[in-house]
Assembly symmetry: C2
Homo-oligomer: 369 residues x 2
Amino acid sequence: MRKLRTVKPDGRYLIYYGFGERADLPAISPLGETPPQAAEGVPAPQMRWNPVLRQWGVVASHRQERTFLPAEERCPFCPTRDPQRPTEIPAPDFDIVAFENRFPSFVSGLSFPAETEDELYRAQPARGVCEVVVYTPDHHASVAGLSVQQVRNLVEVWADRSQELGALESVRYVFIFENRGEAVGVTLHHPHGQIYAFPYVPPAVERELASARAHEERTGRCLFCHILEREVAGGARLVLEGRHTLAMVPFYARWPYEVHVFPRRHVTSLPELSEEERMDLARALKVLAGKYDNLFGFPFPYVMVVHQRPTDGADHGYYHLHFEFYPPHRTADRLKYLAGVELGAGTFLLDATPEEKARELREAPPHSV
Amino acid sequence: MRKLRTVKPDGRYLIYYGFGERADLPAISPLGETPPQAAEGVPAPQMRWNPVLRQWGVVASHRQERTFLPAEERCPFCPTRDPQRPTEIPAPDFDIVAFENRFPSFVSGLSFPAETEDELYRAQPARGVCEVVVYTPDHHASVAGLSVQQVRNLVEVWADRSQELGALESVRYVFIFENRGEAVGVTLHHPHGQIYAFPYVPPAVERELASARAHEERTGRCLFCHILEREVAGGARLVLEGRHTLAMVPFYARWPYEVHVFPRRHVTSLPELSEEERMDLARALKVLAGKYDNLFGFPFPYVMVVHQRPTDGADHGYYHLHFEFYPPHRTADRLKYLAGVELGAGTFLLDATPEEKARELREAPPHSV
């Protein structure tokens, strides 16, 4: 893997990742050919403390203006093939790129003073980094259609971003995710994911950490290793078993087609995965994506998130890296909506049994046609 | 207020609430004219414990079959005007009715054994009650269009349901809510809300209770009274100020047009509200609903939830009753989606400032045309 770091005219960085034949270099347009973009005058996002739920939220009002479902020829994540029509990526070809989000919820180097700082309400600059990761130059590609090697390269990039962003003083959590499909609000179709480098450990992760910590203290073992052991023994909720990787619909799924993907070995973060484990994980992600797309014969929308250890300096050896997929469909033509019971009470209602859904996914063929 | 309790042919109860002129009685069709419905063979819903998030979820696979956007003449919540076409409500007219949900997530009197009960996974029958509350016989009505007196009658019914359901041995929390509009997944348009009588205190409420308890221990006062004081003093986020009721966009809003409605007086549940407070609350709810509908000139979708004290026997005197509205729109034609950051990290991103949105709502006229 080779990395080439460059800076866009508006000051945002962009990193080319090259693999295999292309590992030497992409052919980059000289800086300055891309006209400056709107990012410079971006209003600073603000973190606000919710004293009732005791968690942070982010007010980023400029995001209201973000690019919304442009025509394919105006896709900002395609390579720049016509210098008259520069995209976000000023090169005619590339393997994978990561760059700062033009509409970030967290921004590095903010220094304006907090608006309020009292016992009830707290607000502070939302310091952190938001990146976009473009998986491939091919606008019409999908994870299911990429080669295993290409997905493995993506795992490599995620591991590298985890390490680089996690090393920043202000970053306590590197959160990798992908929103796919208009049903989850996606505004750009080119295959891509995002990374939020948070200045705090986000509450959903905090909850998992607390449970895993408590389980280890009580039983002496990893909560997730324990779950994996049960799932392998039972089998009813397994979706796929790789040599180093397991995928299952959890016993406690919140979404009908929810799948969690785990490395079998107890590792806490992406950078710890061995070469073989990365390859096997890539295979599992590709196969799962193919199963999803073949379930109903259309590109299956989902939210994918990576849960790994925080980078806050504390010891989180009890934690176990995994991926979680939340697809919004409950049938081919019906979505699961979060409404009163989920949003106002915090209890998820499942219109299906996890065992049924796991069987459907086991039986779905892996590759897109 | 008069109550008349009756039982439907399939065994579910239905309660007529009558007010004013109608307080004597609705003209009820004799039982048995309504053909038995499908509810008898309903598979029992199951609670499953999530050991990672340490919270309950509910598996209710029969809900997949629930009625989906029927044509108006087949609306199950309209009065039965033609005995050949019985609806859920076997009377030609009514004020307000509450009855057991045909597709419940919690069912009373379940007694099948738990599927598993070990240190990792727990499952148990989902014991509780799910009710539908039909606000009016008028299929095309809306809360904004009801009279203040009618909304006050609804508050009365909610208070009565809170008391009656809360008194059940198995019920630890009476959760009143309304999902409105297809954007939040509503499958029936007739104005109605729902009630879930939970066998546990739901996690979103649990969190608020913990914060309120901690705040009282630390400062000697109610967290919410403290917030109200600040909002009245500041004013920038107030949406309306009634004599006994306040509505505001919270400093820590998670949805652009989120509004919380509080009684000014420190009360912990609906039954504690005085007659004057109920009337004032009804006025506030009607005015807010009208503002919502006039914001963009169409019936504004929202999730409305009531947060009140649990009915678990413990002392929750530190808590403060309120309503929360979560509308999914961020503009007239764009929705706010929950995706990776909200669902996988637990941090809400707001594309707007609460102060801006409060001003828009203050300026929106209160009544639907």
